[in-house]
């Protein structure tokens, strides 16, 4: 067959159905209006630092928005030399590496929904999943999937502690439902506590994933899985740092305070995370895509923005959020590429 014959086999082109086209255009314009011209940026500027908490919660949605980001890239993502047999033999291991990302995303969505609800702003902000039933259902489905996978393979035992932690989400949900505080911006204490508890579960999951990755014998798979795990961890760290920085803006930072210490520690973790990620990817098929993500961390100005806050207590919130968005989008794209390579579909 040649290209001409290949072309001849194509079905005829079709225009978008007129009704769908109009609907689509209207919906796009509405969305653009919502997120562009009146702009998150303008919204942030208008409400000012007092609404940093709101913005912080909104920014957390970026984790998922970023996951959908496109970069127009198409570089090499997989090892074309890997045979189907090779892939078949490593498939269960690969799933044990990649499926936790489903859980991570679902828990992040649930965390966004819960923290937003506690602040009474669930109708104000656009978050990926805006009702508790759906968010929790998605988490439960993802966790059940991971559990089934872990139970089916002895190597899955590494996820035992993380699955126990995930069972503990029932208690967090109970506390969210039972919260009798005012559902407004003054309810930041419970919101922050809930955020932290979800964060601990996510950290446990990432730790379990790292422990599992360390047990993989195949060096090529292990190296790729390590890069993948580090990308996901860096994503979670980045959004946590962004939120902490925003919350810090609402309180008066004082040298030596616990907030400053926490922020400094997180800042350093994210900075080191970039270095660690680059080192781990060095010499692997994922070096290029990882370098792009790490490069975004350097180029975006995210870390300097937070550093500025630590130094003199000031930070341009819209700029910091934009830079964080760039970093998270870059990391999500890297995770997609590495996952495609690991599964042999890239």
């Amino acid at each position: 067959m040649n290209e001409s014959e290949l072309r001849d086999l194509l079905p005829d082109e079709r225009p978008l159905p007129t009704g769908r086209r109009r609907e689509m255009e209207e919906r796009l314009m509405q969305q653009i209006e919502a997120e562009g011209k009146t702009s998150r940026r303008h919204f942030r500027l208008m409400v000012g630092a007092a609404a940093a908490i709101v913005v912080g919660v909104a920014a957390l949605g970026v984790v998922v928005v970023g996951d959908d980001g496109d970069r127009g890239d198409g570089g090499d993502r997989s090892d074309p030399a890997a045979s189907p047999d090779d892939r078949a033999s490593t498939a269960p291991l690969v799933e044990l590496v990649t499926v936790p990302r489903d859980v991570m995303t679902a828990v992040q969505d649930e965390r966004n929904q819960a923290t937003t609800w506690l602040l009474g702003i669930e109708d104000v902000l656009e978050i990926p999943v805006d009702d508790a039933t759906t968010a929790r259902g998605s988490t439960d489905t993802a966790v059940a999937g991971l559990r089934a996978l872990a139970d089916a393979d002895p190597a899955g035992a590494a996820y035992g502690p993380a699955l126990d932690d995930l069972d503990g989400l029932a208690a967090v949900r109970g506390d969210v439902d039972a919260d009798d505080g005012p559902r407004n911006l003054s309810n930041t204490g419970p919101s922050q506590e809930v955020f932290d508890r979800y964060g601990q579960v996510l950290t446990g999951l990432l730790d379990a994933q790292a422990a599992f990755v360390a047990t993989i014998d195949d060096p090529e798979l292990r190296d790729g899985a390590e890069v993948y795990q580090l990308v996901l961890r860096q994503q979670e760290l980045t959004t946590t740092l962004g939120r902490e920085a925003l919350l810090a803006m609402t309180s008066s930072l004082s040298t030596g305070s616990a907030e400053v210490a926490d922020l400094s520690r997180l800042h350093e973790l994210v900075r080191q995370g970039g270095d660690t990620l680059a080192a781990a990817a060095d010499g692997t098929p994922y070096e290029e895509v990882t370098a792009a993500a790490v490069g975004e961390l350097d180029a975006s100005g995210f870390l300097p923005a937070v550093a500025g806050l630590l130094e003199d207590g000031t930070m341009n919130i819209p700029d910091m959020l934009d830079s964080m968005d760039s970093v998270v989008v870059g990391l999500a794209a890297a995770a997609d590429e590495v996952e495609a390579g690991l599964t042999g579909t890239g």
Binding site: L6, L9, L10, R14, L16, M29, P80, E339, T345, G346
Partner: protein, 226 residues
């Protein structure tokens, strides 16, 4: 004249206006390229329904990335097609992920027996015989092309089906022109080897191939399907 745009503004003029937040620029580009993206996405997904969704996400991305878009000889078409390819790839990956989760929970081996996303039953368009026929034919074609490595499929389909030049493909895929050439060369060689296996003759109605055994679309992430 609105936003500095008059008559039939060029893509670059539209992009410049878009960067300033021009609604009209966005509308012009949407009108100009919506059908192009629609058909490209269909050729990557074999689903008209998925193609429609892809148009929306691609144009939203156009807005979001408006200050970073790379043109090629003044056109944003390669960039749009690159994003459409990525979106389609993500669609396949999502379909596979959903299928895997369902199968896993059901205690079965991953497969494509149901809910594979092609010709989504929820799509009213499936009621239209011609569109269903398109989807079947396209699915067969994609299955045949699945014999090629994904990077080669990317280059080949952008060349043969979208008519992009080497530089445009390089922009769309974010790779070097030399890489485009080498991949296309290999893809053509492999394509010649597909003689007699290629899908379905034009204008005929046939059943799709056994997807569980053969389906592999170009440039997609259908993990767990092989």
């Amino acid at each position: 004249m609105v936003d500095g745009l008059a008559g039939e503004p060029s893509d670059e003029a539209c992009l410049a206006a878009l960067a300033g937040g021009s609604d009209r620029a966005f509308t012009v580009l949407f009108e100009r390229y919506a059908d192009v993206v629609h058909n490209t996405a269909f050729r990557r997904t074999a689903s008209w329904s998925a193609a429609e969704d892809t148009v929306e996400t691609v144009f939203l991305e156009l807005w979001r990335q408006r200050q970073r878009i790379v043109t090629c000889e003044g056109s944003i078409r390669p960039w749009l097609l690159g994003v459409a390819a990525n979106r389609s790839r993500r669609w396949w990956r999502d379909q596979a992920r959903k299928a895997r989760a369902v199968e896993r929970l059901a205690g079965r081996e991953p497969g494509l027996a149901a809910g594979d996303g092609r010709g989504d039953g929820a799509d009213p368009a499936d009621l239209v015989a011609a569109r269903v026929d398109d989807e079947r034919r396209m699915a067969g074609l994609l299955a045949a092309l699945g014999a090629l490595p994904e990077p080669e499929q990317d280059v080949l389909t952008l060349r043969a089906w979208e008519g992009l030049g080497y530089e445009e493909i390089a922009v769309a895929l974010g790779i070097r022109v030399g890489t485009v050439r080498s991949r296309l060369s290999r893809a053509r060689a492999r394509l010649r080897g597909l003689e007699g296996t290629a899908a379905t003759p034009r204008a005929s109605t046939v059943e799709p191939p056994d997807r569980a055994a053969t389906a592999r679309p170009p440039a997609t992430g259908q993990e767990g399907w092989t």
